[in-house]
């Protein structure tokens, strides 16, 4: 396996879905290629940084009161346009 091929399998490797044979080739390459080990570490760190930075657990945005009123008013307007049968 070359560095190029290894880079192509990074997502499957991190998801644990590489088949046994490809995984063996992947790990053999990693053992002898310091550059790919560093690339894998930083690729993994990239995903952690993205997930950690991108508001995943951030508190909800402040919703202006007028938006809440507008949303509820749009429901009332829809009911007026389409009265229940």
């Amino acid at each position: 396996m070359t560095c190029r091929e290894l880079y192509g399998f990074l997502d499957e490797f991190l998801d644990g879905i590489l088949d046994a044979s490809t995984r063996r080739h992947f790990e053999n390459h990693l053992e002898r290629c310091f550059a790919c080990r560093k690339y894998l570490a930083t690729y993994r760190a990239t995903l952690q940084a993205a997930r950690g930075s991108e508001w995943a657990d951030a508190p909800p945005a402040e919703v202006p009161e007028e938006l809440i009123h507008a949303i509820l008013a749009s429901r009332t307007a829809a009911l007026v346009r389409q009265p229940p049968e």
Partner: protein, 200 residues
């Protein structure tokens, strides 16, 4: 996603199906903040995001009778907010799509990486510990060409799976996988610039 205790969720759903005004208000007050956050992440514009939230709730109000309750209301609304945001994104005048190629790894003819990466992973983990550096990571995500940014957001941030992402984007699973793969490599490259890693 807002997780309500099952009893409260069932009561709320019953109220919504019965058309009770207070149930709709509770739904909006409980979930609109998270929905606004989702829309802001995708649209990056406060006014557009507010419009998308309103459109999402209009869709939800229309669809509440058909909602089977197999997922939580919050999960259902999250998906609707994602859809509303993507609809807005599609309707916007598109900028010419930038190429992502310059941000992807480069290799020699025999398949070796052209540059020796530095291991900046410990710094990256610390990265998300301060507001300033979280903002930096977000700014890097924003620098990705649109089609890659959206896939990265949906898969890695909004936690849709490949099939769900493909469905909301109207592309195949294979396209999602390729775009996600490229987006992650490109984001890695943009983060690496901060740590002084050379260009490939």
């Amino acid at each position: 996603m807002v997780v309500s205790p099952p009893v409260q969720e069932a009561e709320l759903l019953a109220g919504l199906r019965a058309g009770q005004e207070d149930a709709f208000e509770r739904l909006v007050r409980t979930h609109s903040g998270r929905m606004l956050s989702v829309c802001l992440r995708i649209l990056r514009n406060h006014e557009e995001a507010k419009d998308a939230v309103q459109e999402a709730f209009v869709s939800a109000f229309r669809g509440i009778q058909a909602f089977e309750g197999t997922s939580l209301l919050g999960t259902w609304l999250h998906r609707i907010a994602v859809n509303a945001s993507l609809m807005r994104l599609r309707s916007k005048k598109r900028r010419p799509e930038q190429s992502i190629n310059a941000l992807l790894p480069a290799f020699t003819a025999d398949g070796h990486a052209r540059i020796e990466p530095r291991d900046w992973s410990p710094s990256a983990v610390q990265m998300v510990e301060t507001r300033e550096t979280r903002d930096f990571v977000r700014s890097c995500i924003d620098r990705l060409p649109e089609i890659y940014r959206v896939v990265l957001l949906l898969r890695d941030i909004e936690e849709l799976d490949t099939a769900e992402t493909a469905e909301v984007l109207g592309v195949t699973d294979g396209v999602v996988k390729v775009r996600l793969h490229r987006a992650r490599h490109a984001l890695r490259r943009l983060l690496a610039e901060r740590f002084g890693e050379g260009s490939s």
